[in-house]
């Protein structure tokens, strides 16, 4: 197909990030060079773990609670907010399972600097309707309050406000969905909340699940639409990332051995809130001249020329699919993409577009063959896919989940692995935030350190927080402030952090 594009739309879509850069200035201007560097990997069988330019990590006390939640390099500090169970600005308790998160607005309010984030709560089901996020509030939009089998869908979203370096509020913004995992920010001040489920079930209210929904930055001004964006597909969604230059979205799917990278070409070329509901064209990635290329075991820096194949019916039911690797459970979109020759990945997860490059992770871990996670970079100008990080050891990278690119061009990923798998000696005792080097290696930026007793948590007012050793639970939702000064990130156990420090000492 030919990718024609209206230049006025380009200007509109790019306007958001350009305006942010103009308003906040600073090191964001360096982005182009550093992203280019990120593809300068040195060919090898696999990636290696290197020494962090930021230095070794050590426990650092949270400026909010005084608890050493994480380990960081010297000079970095952080504030926590929105712990599971904390009462939010709307009087509701903060839900748990903090997952994908994005900055949807960054602006000046008077002389104050304000950032609005939307956070996913990757909750699945409950037999108790009271557990539906915002269930008790009519002003919180909810997709489905019906039962599927004997359970309600209790996943959803909260919006957070960060002003002048302080957390100042949060509130429930959407509910009634199943397991929103990674998600992604639009360029017009909203968030896509993506259900992670491949299911043909229909709830008591006649709803199916596995869709994408759009959440505005301020739901007191614009309530979230309860209509799914059907044309983005019904599948075990993970991330969605927009290319500001074209308005195309790139989507990942956590469906083991039955997924590819998707792209969505919206019908509404102007963008804007609810514009994606006007539909569009869903496509799957295919390696050029190779039918159903198996991309689960690349070597570092291996490249593939790619093209896109259509998914004609994005809302089609899933089924068992017979593939070159045996029978797999597949979504309707993947069944169609596969039939048209789409590639095979292990389990795609995090996705980010920066300066014409789509970065995405494959988080699959297997012992034989040794797989502990891959990160791919798709150059949109050349349509060349490159394996910029190939972990065959849990020490190097343990199931890379969400990822983000800093405004300076550094690639950061959140580990979401277990303790079993290739390279698990010495024992895996914690999950990390790791950085991909321009040459294709990795280094540790931060280490999980959450291990507190009930008494310790109660003493700092966190009565709803989980006690015990949570060091091996995942990191999630990493995203930098547009000026690159603050990294926002979640501990899945139920804490949101804002980290700052000497970023210039390393590649982030």
């Amino acid at each position: 197909m030919t990718d024609s594009f209206d230049t006025s739309r380009r200007s509109l879509l790019k306007g958001g990030s350009a305006a942010i850069a103009a308003a906040f200035g600073g090191p964001i201007a360096a982005m182009a060079t550093r992203v280019a560097e990120a593809s300068q990997c040195a060919p090898a069988a696999a990636s290696a773990l290197g020494v962090s330019p930021y230095g070794p990590t050590a426990p650092v006390k949270d400026l909010t609670t005084g608890l050493p939640l994480i380990e960081l390099p010297a000079g970095f500090s952080y504030k926590s907010h929105g712990w599971r169970g904390d009462i939010m600005s709307d009087g509701l308790p903060t839900p748990g399972a903090h997952d994908g998160m994005g900055v949807v607005v960054s602006r000046r309010v008077g002389r104050s600097t304000e950032i609005i984030l939307v956070r996913n709560h990757e909750l699945s089901t409950s037999s108790n309707a009271a557990n539906i996020i915002g269930g008790s509030r009519s002003n919180v939009a909810k997709y489905d309050t019906g039962l599927t089998g004997t359970n309600y869908q209790v996943g959803g979203n909260t919006n957070l406000i960060w002003r002048d370096g302080n957390w100042v509020g949060s509130y429930a913004s959407f509910g009634g969905i199943y397991r929103p995992c990674a998600g992604g920010s639009s360029t017009w001040g909203s968030w896509l909340s993506n259900e992670e489920i491949r299911s043909n079930s229909i709830s008591s209210t006649g709803k199916k699940h596995g869709y994408i929904f759009e959440i505005p930055a301020d739901t007191s001004l614009n309530a979230a639409s309860t209509t799914p964006i059907y044309d983005m597909g019904r599948m075990a969604h993970e991330a969605s990332a927009i290319d500001p230059a074209t308005g195309y979205w790139y989507l990942t799917e956590d469906q083991g051995n039955a997924n590819t990278l998707y792209r969505f070409l919206p019908n509404n070329i102007q963008g804007g809130l609810n514009s994606l509901h006007a539909g569009g064209r869903l496509q799957g990635l295919k390696v050029r001249n190779v039918t159903n290329a198996d991309l689960r075991d690349p070597t570092l820096c291996q490249e593939f020329s790619v093209e896109w194949v259509d998914v004609a019916a994005p809302d089609m039911d899933g089924a068992t699919l017979s593939t070159r690797n045996g029978n797999v459970s597949a979504s309707g979109p993947y069944i169609q993409a596969y039939a048209n020759g789409a590639a095979i990945f292990g389990a795609t997860e995090g996705c980010w577009v920066a300066n014409g490059v789509v970065f995405f992770t494959d988080k699959q871990v297997t012992t034989t063959p040794a797989r502990a996670g891959r990160i791919w970079a798709l150059d949109l100008a050349t349509q060349t896919l490159k394996a910029i990080f190939v972990s065959n050891s849990l020490q190097v990278g343990n199931s890379p989940d969400n990822l983000c690119v800093s405004p300076r061009g550094g690639v950061l990923f959140c580990e979401d692995g277990g303790t079993g798998g290739p390279g698990n000696t010495p024992a895996i005792t914690a999950q990390h935030l790791k950085v991909v080097t321009p040459q294709g290696g990795s280094y540790t930026f931060a280490k999980h350190n959450y291990d507190f007793t009930r008494a310790q948590l109660d003493a700092v007012g966190k009565t709803g927080a989980s006690a015990g050793n949570q060091r091996n639970s995942e990191w999630a939702g990493c995203v930098f402030s547009p000026d690159g000064r603050v990294l926002f990130v979640n501990l899945y156990v139920g804490v949101t952090l804002a980290i700052t420090g000497p970023w210039q000492n390393g590649t982030l």
Partner: protein, 213 residues
Amino acid sequence: MNRAIPPTHTQQITMKPILPLIALLGAALASSPAWSLSFEGAISQGATAVTPYVDTGLISFDIDFANTNSVSLDFRIDEDDLLQPLALNAVLRNFTGLGLNSYTLSLDKGAFGTIGSVTRQFGGTTQVTLSGNQLAQLSFNTPEYLDIELGNALGTTPGAFNWTLTGLQAGDRVNLTVSVGAVPEPEAIALMLAGLGVLGACRLRGAKRSPQA
């Protein structure tokens, strides 16, 4: 070099007499003017931006530092009010990408009066040192990567209170220069250590030669 353009009109607001003392002092003091100020411009380098917020009785501004070059601001005192202090507040934003050790504020006229609050976004302490009465250095115990609020610029920070200036009167033109003290970058530190190493090697070589001399 950037020169911020002053507002097209001078912000002049006449203060209502608020102190009973004024009435007691009779007609002479009743006609006493309020502080009235004009922002005359600022000089900065590169992408560093200055936004003035001059108001009655208040010198106020924001500086978005994109580099470590000093910023020079000029104000004119149009009218004075000897019964009220002239207040000062500011927001200093750090977009340099560097950790800052200090800010230095220097006046070419008048003097710092009350030393107001300094609020750092991620905490940490600030030591304010006056050299004479026209130079104030704000030294941080840990490098500052974010913004600081000088006085009560944002109006929302609990306990924040403004700085004051003294010794100024109608007709004065006052220059306030804000300088940045940055933590050396790793490359600079490496260069410095390399230089020290060379110096040490030279000294060692000299020491070895001395006995032979």
